[in-house]
Subunit: 224 residues, 2 copies
Amino acid sequence: MSPRRSYDQHCSTARALDAVGDRWTLLIVRELLAGPRRYTDLHADLPGVSTDVLASRLKDMERDGIATRRRLPPPAAASVYELTPRGRDLLPVLQALGGWGAAVPAERSPTDAVRAHWLALPLLRLIEGNAGRGQQGLVEVRLDEGVFHLWVGAGEGAAYGDGAAPREPDLRLDLDMDTCARLGGGDLTLDQAVLDGMVVMAGEGALADALRGRPLPAAPTSAS
Amino acid sequence: MSPRRSYDQHCSTARALDAVGDRWTLLIVRELLAGPRRYTDLHADLPGVSTDVLASRLKDMERDGIATRRRLPPPAAASVYELTPRGRDLLPVLQALGGWGAAVPAERSPTDAVRAHWLALPLLRLIEGNAGRGQQGLVEVRLDEGVFHLWVGAGEGAAYGDGAAPREPDLRLDLDMDTCARLGGGDLTLDQAVLDGMVVMAGEGALADALRGRPLPAAPTSAS
DNA sequence: CGGCATCCGTGACGATACTG
DNA sequence: CAGTATCGTCACGGATGCCG
């Protein structure tokens, strides 16, 4: 057992970095924010991580109460890793990091790996920023590279997931990665992107209206 | 020159971690948020970092536009490091990390180092959370271990600094480290701490009133 | 003395091979 | 499928030396 390397500082930031400051840890959290994952899936979506490091990080995260391992019921003889509530609380950390990283345009290098759900975090931030407070709903996002869905306004709950929305979404977005990156970086507004046809937005509920910048219904019908 | 280790992922979070994910980097940013620092001061306030790693990180941060090196005018034949605007933009990242790390109480280990200004970040978050939006002012914080000051509501500007406030502060706080940690962790409210005498709050401006939970200026000053 | 560069021992990391 | 074992390499931490 590794005695846990620490900065040994009486500082909440340093203590946070003791837990999630190691290489790969926050990226594993990013993956698990999309929902429970098997070891092999994690390994496939984190190109470059070695098997032993991945196993080691997952053990550390279990020990630190960030993630748990769960055996799936018999038909599937597999186990999945998922975030604990404490682990999901790292969402603001990833949002802050992602927001900072998105501020510099950064074209895509040919060696860069890509996964569709990596855009979920920036898009979630964008949508929750553009829609007013209290808005919530399910958004399905379609890119050439894949489909995922976002739970807008879920707060502490699950943030997003891979694949199509589990029910009829309140909003559907079609766009490409480059547009998505520019939206996240702030040098393109959602309204402008829709006008230019770079984003196709479909949906009729309150969330869709809020994103289109329309005024809310005169008498808000006591929505919860 | 090291060709810069990267996760090689087309993801803003991963790119952020390419720049600030290395060991010690974010803690150096935390130090520089308190203002310009000399190499030796950084080394003294970051126990455990080796000299070459510190030098290497500072070079990386310069290359990445996070920090700059500046020679002081002749009388002081020294140079200081300071954050660029891009580096100061990391404040929300440190806030998110610190907030997450403060959520677990965590008593102080005897081996833990302590610096007074490490409490600036949590206190700043607490004050900006308790006072309403738009409040701003200068706060001087006194602990047994040292004195520092906070620029509340400065937003992107300088967040805090070591030592006494450079002018008469709008608010003065006296407290001890343990109380500060509990305030940051959320298991003690500022009001309660003042009532219990664990925090002495002095000041008469709008900021002080806002923190005391009083109604804003319209109300007459009928207190004590 | 401040600001590193160098050297060295240890541990973390990355790639591959192997096993229940 | 889900890791463990092995190994070469590199990053880190500590000490010391150099140079202005």
